[in-house]
Amino acid sequence: MDGGDDVDGIADMGGTAGWGPVHPPRAGEPVFAEPWQGRAFALGLYSIRVAGWNVDAFRHATERLDRSAYLDDGYYGRWLNSTELVLTESAILAPGAIDARARNLRGEHVEEPPIPEPARPGYLPSAEGSLRTVDVPPAFAVGERVRAKDMSPPGHTRLPRYARGHTGVVEVVQPAAVLPDTNAHFLGENPQHVYSVRFDSRELWGATAEPFAVTLDLFESYLEKIP
């Protein structure tokens, strides 16, 4: 659990190299390939609630996993490891409690750590879900050229690395929503307008890129006007 404390870790995968070919869809793939995956999924969702966390904080927990914890057991493996981080950081479980119990389940006799005093963040959402109303009008208009800030915040963000510093065009003003960057750290909802911004592939990747466009849904504070 000693991954870097920012989104620039392994989770921010857009445009990174070295992953090999994609895996074409297989017909009839089960929702959960193994029974533990379904249980890990459900336990993760309930644990967010038990810990008094939120979906942004959960995503940030996933981003802080090290490479092995993120990749080795696939999507539900990282889901399970994020859940452990949620529960230990909110002191619902002691560090090492899951592994100690797991060893005892397979017949070892190890001492389990005592149950800690819970330390929930005491941070309540102002409403259900993430959509909010914002009193100020949108700063950017449909059709306007905007630049994604070249920023690298120390904590959670939903501005992928590959878009930073690049210029696009506002395609749609989406409903305003809670800002993940502060909500993930229990520092306030700070709802903002969200913009679907269209980037040309050559702007993102250079003149030799395949011709296409990418849209990203970006919070207002991720964007700046073109001078």
């Binding site: 989770a11 921010d12 995968m13 857009g14 445009g15 190299a17 992953w19 895996h23 074409p24 869809p25 793939e29 533990w36 379904g38 249980r39 890990a40 999924f41 459900a42 336990l43 969702l45 309930y46 038990v50 995503r59 090290d66 990749l71 080795d72 057991d73 999507y75 493996g77 399970l80 452990e84 230990t88 619902i92 560090p95 090492g96 899951i98 592994d99 119990r101 797991a102 060893r103 389940l105 397979r106 149950i115 879900g129 993430s130 959509l131 939903r158 749609v172 989406q174 409903p175 929503a177 969200v194 679907s196 890129a209 395949e210 466009a213 990418v214 849209t215 990203l216 849904d217 919070f219």
Partner: protein, 198 residues
Amino acid sequence: MTGNGSGERLPPALRTEALEQLLTERGLVDPAAVDRLITQYETNVGPLNGAKVVARAWTDPEYRRRLLDDGTAAIGELGFGGLQTECLVVVENTPTTHNVVVCTLCSCYPWAVLGLPPSWYKDPAYRARMVREPRTVLSEMGLDLGDDVRITVRDSSSEVRWMVLPERPAGTEDMSEEQLVPLVTRDAMVGVAKVEAP
């Protein structure tokens, strides 16, 4: 991933069992509720929901217009919505424009209409490469698009969720909404395939 620094990585199935035991013995989680949530996503919330939306849009021009105008409200008309689908935007694929959905930062996906994401959608290769070389990736997945087709990749970086309204295949003009539903695949609604005529 051991969590206690002891080095050995225990199997995830065993660690999940341990986690469930630790939470249930303190009354923090009800195992029956865990069962219900699993059943919900194994049987009730899946791509059949999205297929019903698409078949309705193909056969009802007014519904199609509402779906493209306000996806969240339009799927609500069919009773769909909820977790991870607070704000749905539906984009239409045509002979000359192709949309495809990805989430490079995690694996955001419109659960209410497509269920939980399939393994290929969560795979690092898909997440990393779809925003860099989509034409190549789509070709590897079996979808070859002509040079005249404009590709737009939808990277789901906020709580906005994206779904593709695929092209209705030629030769299905006489089929009813009910007959069309089983033709619509999850892959077509993500944008990595087209819907084939029967």
